[in-house]
Subunit: 296 residues, 2 copies
Amino acid sequence: MSDAGNDILVAYPPVGAARAERLAALPDHVTLTVALDSPEAIAEMARAAASAERIVNVYVELDLGMHRVGVPVIDTAIALARRAREEPSLDFAGIAFYPGHVREAPEDQDAKLAELSATLTGALRKFDAADVSARVVSGGSTPTLWRSHEIEGVTEIRPGTYVYNDRGTAAIGACGWEDCALTVLATVISTAVPGQAVIDTGTKALGREPVRGAPGEGFGMLLEHPEVLVERMSEEHGVLDLSKSSWRPQVGERVRVIPNHVCIVVHLNDVVYGIRGDVLETSWPVAARGRGEPAF
Amino acid sequence: MSDAGNDILVAYPPVGAARAERLAALPDHVTLTVALDSPEAIAEMARAAASAERIVNVYVELDLGMHRVGVPVIDTAIALARRAREEPSLDFAGIAFYPGHVREAPEDQDAKLAELSATLTGALRKFDAADVSARVVSGGSTPTLWRSHEIEGVTEIRPGTYVYNDRGTAAIGACGWEDCALTVLATVISTAVPGQAVIDTGTKALGREPVRGAPGEGFGMLLEHPEVLVERMSEEHGVLDLSKSSWRPQVGERVRVIPNHVCIVVHLNDVVYGIRGDVLETSWPVAARGRGEPAF
């Protein structure tokens, strides 16, 4: 969900009456847009919007290669757009996609970006020909951040990770190591087992996120000692492999871990601290975490 | 941390003055025991306990094969026990270990349990000979739950996962599938991509925990359709592989996921709902999640 002033975009199918109603209950001055890929989501959003006497913008989501959500067949997507346009409480605003399958370094994205441009151009022509032209084409991601403008037709991007960046983003060259803004402050709690040190930062603080999908490359890297990785984890223990380092920490020493995937780390913690130099300038509560949809 | 009436056991090294002080500030009627493996932790706990005018029980943690925390060399552990005994505010109460390396099915644990018994017996004899006898020997885990009493010398066990059990525990045969008490309620939010269905339960709800440490075996299993696994995940998406199932869900349909590792799932959610049959009988807030040690 992104909020640019009074515009809120929910790039996630609002399936379930409770979700649709919650969105429709947003203040009137908010321009609400949702991305969806099913007739069920259209019907539920239409009902909730009508009941709240508001108009909700709709993007029809396309699958352009990630194979997660989104309609892979353009004719089916066009049928959804028409269906949305039939609903007085919905306004078909355009199409959305997420190029999550593009995980190459920016300079190696040529082929995939060209393919995206070609597929997207074809899709947009079909939408035009069917008289359901897309006003907005919403795509983009953190790895494609610097090249999304090369995807023909895109008018909006939705990168997220770039706010902090992380080891995974730096590892593919989509940011520099110096751009990793969030680290996890950890304390060395044990050096009893030779060749390793244990920090108080395990899966409950870092998640068990891979780098580039490959296991065995560690779950985080020390900012101060980049040759040291979090090699294995338990829930509250992170085991640092010291075999490639001459650094031998003391129990109680503090280190900063660059996490593999920062989005998960934010979700795992109640507060993010904003530090400049050695000064704590602010702190941000993570308000939207832990919110499984209440089922009852 | 376990709380049996007024006894609290912290089976985690209380490293850092803030941690030791927080523990020492527990009400006087609480009998506090901490497990630790370093002189630094002894010094900090002793200082905090003295300052709070209380006696804290200490277990010296041994590494008996898991190689996470704990002292692998018995003479070093005995030196720590002596060091603890020198502190007027500490009482050396015994030894602790965690047999996290025993992940076999209960019936296949013979060799490792025999090895644990032999190592532990040898260690206890050395502690006796050094005149620092252990009153308590604290070990045990969920996978060894039904056989911990066969480890010679053990007087206390600390299983955790068994409270709910999970796919990982059932997969190694340490519980039955019918013993998995916690599931994650998910909604199917997309069926647009053929051969799969997408639920609103990704890494932020399930974690990315492997079964038996092997990747590629899915991140959860549907209770109602055990042939269907959560095959891949994004933060808020879980992709169900339908290739081994004739079940074809509707968008909006609800399913229950047996998670691979339930401890992580509890940590990821604000509330656990207690349901008997179709009746919501209670709900439990997860109070201690998201608590990174405040650094400032």
